[in-house]
Symmetry: C2
Subunit: 332 residues, 2 copies
């Protein structure tokens, strides 16, 4: 910066002003400085800047699973909203590894980012408490925080389950099954509550079976599908809710394509995420849509609110409502 100042025949203070408060500098001087900057290829040092200001204009976003299109949607929404308020969005993928998640939280903490958006897969209270205690703001996405500990953007996951089950019931299915895994993951728990609520509401004519899968991915779904395919025909559910789309698609594949048990004729299937792949599968998947983009936008809004309002900030929870997307796997 001194070099630029020398080259332009001004002081470093003036160079700084050209960069940060152009109005304070006469046009002629500013032009001279800008010319020197580009001639010398000067790049200001962000570290020094944020050392002085004590902050940055970056927001860190920590995602548990960048493979999942819901998380990507959230990132998209957050990016748009962040840019609109002059912040950059930096992404970090933890691949569901809590050690990595803690590392990234600490990294963002040490980098003095404006704030952190966290979309975890497990309870992360410890990490949140840690960086919040340093004054770093956190907004939690798709995972309910301990009450009063931070802002959050949630989907009404109970309603997700309810909508899924309700659609099957409304279309005449009476023997439902809910395929679930990872019941310690709070959105999963909520979805189950909704499924159960819908079934109870329907009265004794509708039954619910809960099928425990080992995990939430395709391979686990294939196992569940194979097990189902081996059942006696009248032991088969006629409506199936899978807690993730991936599970749903894998089950459909096994039933429909491998075992010849037609979907939706014999079994209707509903997923609970409406992932990117939902519409493109063997039998396009009816699924309850999670509004990822909006979630990301809301998260940035909450974060900037919190940063702006300082001490008198009150934590808020935004709960967005899901929407059923009807496709072939469980038609109207």
């Amino acid at each position: 910066m001194q070099d630029v100042a020398d080259a332009a025949g001004v002081s470093v203070g003036t160079v700084s002003n050209v960069l940060n408060h152009p109005a304070k500098v006469s046009p002629a001087t500013a032009e001279r400085v800008r010319e020197a900057i580009s001639r010398l290829g000067f790049v200001r040092n962000d570290a020094a800047r944020s050392l002085v200001s004590g902050s940055t204009n970056s927001v860190g976003m920590v995602l548990a699973d960048i493979e999942n299109s819901l998380f990507i949607d959230m990132a998209h929404g957050a990016q748009d909203a962040a840019r609109a308020v002059g912040q950059n969005l930096l992404l970090a993928n933890t691949a569901c590894d809590m050690t990595l998640q803690d590392d990234y939280l600490d990294l963002f903490d040490e980098s003095r980012v404006t704030g952190v958006l966290l979309a975890p897969m497990e309870d992360s209270s410890a990490g949140i408490a840690r960086i919040r205690s340093h004054g770093r703001q956190v907004v939690l996405l798709n995972y309910a925080p301990r009450p009063g500990t931070c802002c959050s953007v949630l989907v009404n996951n109970e309603h997700v389950g309810y909508l899924a089950a309700r659609h099957l019931i409304d279309t005449g299915r009476t023997r439902l099954a809910y395929v679930v895994a990872h019941d310690d993951y709070q959105p999963v728990r909520d979805r189950r509550r909704g499924v159960r609520a819908a079934v109870e509401e329907a009265g004794p004519g509708v039954t619910l079976e809960e099928i425990d899968s080992v995990g939430l991915t395709s391979s686990h779904g294939h196992v569940v599908g194979q097990d189902l395919a081996r059942r006696a025909p009248d032991d088969l559910p006629d409506g199936l809710i899978a807690v993730t789309d991936e599970l749903a698609n894998a089950i459909i594949h096994q039933l429909h394509a491998v075992a010849g048990i037609r979907v939706p004729d014999r079994v209707a299937v509903v997923g609970c995420e409406n992932n990117r792949a939902a519409g493109a599968s063997v039998v396009p998947l009816t699924a309850v849509d999670m509004p990822g983009r909006t979630m990301g936008q809301e998260a940035i809004r909450l974060l900037m609110d919190e940063v702006a309002s300082g001490a008198q900030h009150r934590h808020a929870t935004v709960v967005l409502e899901p929407e059923l997307i009807v496709r072939a796997s469980a038609p109207r």
Copy 2:
């Protein structure tokens, strides 16, 4: 830091040593300092650190399309490799927006990251030249750089096209079509060369038609699929190569599921990426696999090489070979 030093009854220099050179500090002192750090909730300021050292231990990765599983694989591979050498990987998604891409390159440049991994969708020579001229190292992924301007990790995209076409020819298809868009995108150009090479090699018995799609996504693929479905039966190709999996899947959907033109019986289809969704589609997609993870790992290796070797560094290009994954849409 001064507070910690006071609390532990030592100087700031010692606190710094506890954090950075623990071996230099006696165990008792170190313990006292650490206790003070956690009691006071001290978080070291990364900005000040990197101001002193002139560098960080973060690598920035700029991705053109985080929706595409190839890019996600690259991010995964890079993350693993980066962590193995003590670097954090920061992700940025440009969503194919060159303005955003330039912004992120500049952001990483100003942040003095160790280096930048760039996986673009268009020629990015200008941006690369800009930040390289400031001494920032860049490794280009899946896009050939101007010769000698930087390191890069590529896939032999010509061979991608070749493998795809060759597989169709080897399994008896004689009337091939290559569906392509975005021909200014260099990997796309390369793939076409490979397709043409395979067809020429096969001699006069095999013909190639090139079908221009408007874009690379599902909706564009649906249009192409509809157009194909309207053709007279003997005007239909019997082997189809789509430059992206998304295109391939959409075409299969239109042909097979909508128009009843069986895949692979009437038309065999091959994709060129082997995306995550390839195996889960209506007719599981035969595709040429791009080794994303390895690409990411190699990129980090090249970057760290370049950082370590300084002036005597010679740019290198790593070219990885693709592999055909045979599934139902174009069986053996």
